[in-house]
Symmetry: C2
Subunit: 418 residues, 2 copies
């Protein structure tokens, strides 16, 4: 007996029949004896349609008006979902971001939530209503409508769960939960029953697309238990994401992820003068280019090498900036390596188990996979490898760290070139 916050994405409410299915899932939780607040996104392709309309009106729509436009999408779905719940015999009431009082910064298209009023929510809950809240949107203290940007509805749900001190926030998606790696690559991969916020965050950053990091960060900050589960299989409880201290047992490695979105830039024959690295990376930072892995070799005969990775989208801009730094680079050689993949193992258990890194390196070496760069954090070790080796690397690491299920699941779809 407590409050459960549920969140359903746009594909779950894409048409009236699907909306009725969501209503059933909501009512099921209510029948369990819980108070339910359900957060929904806009129906199916509504947001895309509205963006297209705006682009037909003007090539560069004003972001305030864009928020005014897009926020209607969720308002349509909350009204329809409330009707569906009511037609199945339960009390429901819809609330848009303004009505709840989801207060955000005064920034359009990517505002952050600063406060959530709970007075009205609590009142309607006490009256026995299922509350249906518009995700992705908020309102500034001045009454301006804002939207929360990518991952916005997940963040709305988690923030509301935190504000209401809810027992749990259930994120319903089209996957069955969080997997230790992409099931398309390792078909017999295990689904995690429990994973920590920290592990989920690292997995999200290195390429697992189940939850937006922002919503996980919010859940971690307010210690909201988060469940990722399938909206098509209500009997499956999915994966519970909780604080590392609340976990009873955990494996040293919770997941393996691959990121193929980066390119490596190698600057060799660089004069070994103090301040060179600072100058180069300062110039990149000033232009908002995020650098991921960096390695600087030891100087030999007054010459140095620096290798680093950036997102492939930023490559052209990066080369332009390096070109402008000719004073520094002078006679250095710049080469680019596009065919790379960053393979990462993530696990909260690494902290107090030495030797995990060595296990990873040996496992890759046994498969003759060459490691080009290495970076580590508290709960993550990443190795840069040739892209053509990435699938084999993932499989080897899943085997090494016992992330496979005993039964082999069927391969679904083509294996993409991850």
């Amino acid at each position: 007996m407590g409050i459960i916050v549920q969140k359903f994405g746009g594909t779950s409410v894409a048409d009236p029949a699907k909306i009725h299915n969501v209503a059933k899932a909501v009512i099921k939780e209510k029948q369990n004896g819980n108070d339910v607040v359900v957060v929904v996104s806009a129906m199916g392709h509504t947001t895309d349609y509205l963006i297209k309309l705006a682009k037909e009106v003007t090539a560069s729509p004003n972001s305030r008006e864009m928020d005014m436009l897009l926020s209607t999408g969720e308002q349509v779905s909350i009204a329809l979902l409330s009707m569906a719940i009511q037609s199945q015999g339960y009390k429901a009431i819809s609330m848009n971001g303004q009505q709840v009082g989801i207060i955000t910064e005064s920034i359009h298209s990517k505002a952050r939530i600063v406060d959530i009023k709970t007075e009205k929510l609590q009142k309607y809950i006490k009256e026995g209503n299922i509350i249906v809240v518009a995700g992705f949107q908020g309102v500034t203290p001045d009454g301006e409508i804002t939207t929360l940007g990518r991952g916005g509805s997940d963040t709305s749900a988690v923030a509301i769960a935190a504000a209401l001190n809810a027992d749990r926030c259930d994120i319903y998606t089209d996957v069955e939960g969080v997997y230790a790696t992409d099931p398309r690559i390792v078909p017999n991969i295990k689904r995690a029953d429990t994973i920590s916020y920290e592990e989920m965050l690292e997995l999200a950053r290195v390429g697992a697309n189940v939850l937006h990091p922002r919503s996980v960060e919010t859940a971690k900050q307010f210690n909201v238990p988060l469940r990722v589960r399938s909206s098509f299989n209500l009997d499956n409880l999915g994966t519970l994401i909780i604080g590392v201290n609340d976990m009873e047992i955990y494996k040293p490695v919770a997941g393996v992820a691959a990121d193929t979105s980066q390119v490596r830039i190698l600057i060799s024959n660089l004069p070994d003068i103090p301040g060179t690295a600072a100058e180069l990376f300062g110039a990149l930072a000033k232009n908002n280019i995020s650098v991921d892995m960096i390695i600087q070799s030891l100087a030999v005969q007054g010459k140095n090498s620096i290798a680093f990775t950036v997102n492939a989208d930023d490559l052209d801009e990066t080369l332009k900036i390096l070109d402008a730094e000719k004073d520094i680079i002078k006679t250095a050689d710049v080469s680019i390596d596009k065919d790379i993949a960053k393979i990462s193992i993530v696990g909260a258990g690494m902290v107090d188990r030495p030797g995990i890194a060595a296990d990873m390196f040996r496992s890759l070496a046994n498969k003759n996979i060459n490691i080009k760069m290495i970076s580590t954090s508290e709960i993550k070790i990443s190795c840069l490898v040739e892209r053509e080796n990435s699938k084999e690397a993932i499989k080897a690491l899943c085997k090494e760290f016992e992330l496979e299920a005993d039964e082999i699941a069927a391969v679904k779809g083509d294996l993409p070139n991850v």
Copy 2:
């Protein structure tokens, strides 16, 4: 130099190209040196589409949720129109009913406006913005979203004009203004340059569908000059609707209207006992059936006749009620006449010009048109005639009261059986 409120309906903003045309009309008024507040309806068939969606979810959608749903339609159009105005180089800002503070009664689907906050509107106007307001919607003091029912956007525009003490409220429609009768029947009919609120109200009640009576009543109440004009022909100033005391000259008869929506019920051989009429019409009123014209003949030999008209939609219900009143009707005969039309002449000038009624009756008699019933008000005289005579009656009356233009306009479309 003042404030002009403009209102554009759904067909005027049906697609991005049309929205740009509306933006041009708005900007034109701004270029005239006026501050502009523009009220818009939902795009084209949006409202119908949303109603269809709701009906697919449930046969009887909750009216609160219906208002939540439908109010998104106008929010889409205000955002897009603001973008269009901005893209043409002018400052614009959209506001939904809640943001303006269009306060209504706590009734869903047909709320009446009780107050309009002007603080934010005034602030944005002072900053040089064109304000784009969502019509048809408001908000209760508790923050619940309401809609205003039929004619809602016109009413929003007039009420905002009243609240801002605007110089004028321009209602843009698909007609060129207010005509003395239906141009499809009398092709060379004159368009009125000026007409009074009272005349417009009577014309609306007897079948001229240009403006909803509610918006005209609001304009009359707050003395807001109202202009009905074409959104396709911006050079045409249309018809100005003002208070009768502000009119410099007016004709005794401003317009001729026909209403074919009624049926006549004749109860003959009714015992001439006091209270019979009260009993019958009391029963109809209790069942929300509006009775329009009533004639009671003089009693002859203790027998009486009562004839009255009701809307054709109410006929079955009316007969059921009469049947339940058998105690009263007893041996009376009830007959129904469906082929009737009510032809009305309307004019504020009737009040102080005797003989207008006689002119009307003579004019119809000259065409051998039999008058079945007559009713009069301060500024209106209505005659019930055979429906097949209605076009001839309208033409004769337009000629009698000099409502035709000198030039004969082309007949557009088929003459409907009005």
